[in-house]
Subunit: 258 residues, 2 copies
DNA sequence: GTGCATTTGTGCGTATGTATA
DNA sequence: ATATACATACGCACAAATGCA
């Protein structure tokens, strides 16, 4: 949610007052309005984060009843182009970051390529016994000691995902310290000579965000997280890392090229 | 939700009455209980769909307070192994279907390979003008006529996803009738000589299910859908179909092999 | 529909052990 | 050694959702 406050709409574009909409054309008024606003959002005349004029003001400018205007806004909200909050107003949504899933999936590279500034902060790390799931993925005996590293990763300061990474403890001495120092799992692994890992398999599910996830990702209640589990391996495709990233679902779009 | 009714727990296994839990061992009681039930679920002694005994009964059998037992159940619910509904009881969850995303992604093949019976029913079809998004994906001018086909697809009778498919209308005469007749988009396309389509790109997002989706997928309120948009092309990688599938998120796990 | 029993969900109060400052 | 905080465990009570007569 970019806080654009007042700076938002200096030149609101949209309809000049009195510039009405075409009646009796067989196209519903709400649809004409929705298409008109959608066009302005898509070609950037209405930038992401901008606050739209109030429903009252818009309905007057388009010369329709507020109900009619709300039908148009509902259409745009359905398409995830705008987002309304009672008491605050209606805002143009940030477009989701396209996040490619491929053999070389690197958070910072992906975010940078989208023109955003990647960052990350360590939220915890510890040694724990491998769960059945993680042991199976890494080809270890269940209960083997694994190092777990948790980080929150952000783009332009807004949290994008919570990442948990599990490594066979024996292979990764002091990885956690390196991650803390560099803020990047990628760089820390490079230092340990494991920089050339590649994505072997990705598993994707989704569910409502729990309380911790809402807090870490600053999500309002009812939002959903994309749970992306990944097995990463070395050059010989031997698994060396299992990771679980929980993305704020409305801030990303996972892309698979085939 | 498989309706297992009474046939469920003939031999409930779990703890025999009086068989208590180890106190004062440094391992929390709830953790011992959770691990014990998890083991029974994982090795199949507690089958998917089975209803667990009530919390009162379980707490008595384990010899702990109901709160303590509930802490154990919460752990298992967090791991998505069980699911509780007020008034109904607590059930062992069906494991999600692994749904591979690849160049040859076919619903019926995938479901059949998971040992389930695939089926589908047409819910609507019509000609409509291409939206900006669909036109861009198919390489058409916006507003070009496209054929839209909507189907609900199920595995063993439980709905898995709602699929909408858009085809350039000119290339697909009477495709809708064929889909209605065969119940399979794949087969209908084969009849038209377009059976060899392949997945070019897949885009994945997630959000709470809306009312229509909850109805079509028989989901309770608050559940989430995985929205999987795909561009499918012919042998020359020319786009011929755009599709949007909305999956019941807790019934599938999308898998990407790299 | 109405009422009732069953079952899960939630809140409050209390006590105890354990780790930390 | 003392104080504080936290997780664990128990007891009682009631709310909310479901299913059934």
């Amino acid at each position: 949610m970019s806080e654009s406050d007042d700076s938002a709409v200096t030149e609101p574009s949209l309809p000049a007052p009195g510039e009405d909409v075409a009646r009796g054309t067989g196209v519903a008024l709400w649809k004409q309005i929705a298409e008109r606003i959608e066009a302005e959002i898509l070609d950037g005349r209405l930038a992401a984060g901008v606050r739209l004029p109030t429903e009252m003001e818009l309905s007057e400018r388009f010369g329709v009843n507020r109900h009619t205007l709300r039908r148009a806004l509902a259409e745009l909200a359905e398409k995830r182009l705008i987002e309304a909050t009672p008491g605050r107003g209606t805002f143009v949504r940030e477009p989701p970051i396209r996040y490619p899933i491929g053999p070389r999936t690197r958070f910072s590279e992906i975010v940078a390529r989208e023109g955003r500034a990647p960052s990350g902060r360590l939220t915890g790390s510890r040694i724990e016994p491998a769960s059945a799931e993680i042991a199976a993925a890494l080809g270890l005996a269940p209960g083997t000691e694994v190092l777990r590293v948790d980080i929150v990763r952000e783009a332009d300061g807004v949290p994008l995902n919570i990442g948990s990474h599990w490594y066979e403890a024996a292979r990764c001495r002091d990885l956690d310290l390196l991650v803390a120092a560099t803020g990047s799992v990628t760089r820390a692994l490079e230092t340990l000579g494991l920089g050339d890992y590649r994505r072997l398999e990705t598993r994707i599910t989704a569910r409502p965000a729990d309380e911790e996830e809402r807090r870490e990702l600053s999500l309002p209640a009812g939002r959903t997280v994309l749970v992306v589990d990944a097995i990463n391996g070395d050059a010989q495709r031997r698994p060396i890392q299992y990771s679980r990233a929980r993305f704020a679902a409305d801030r990303v779009q996972l892309v698979v090229k085939n």
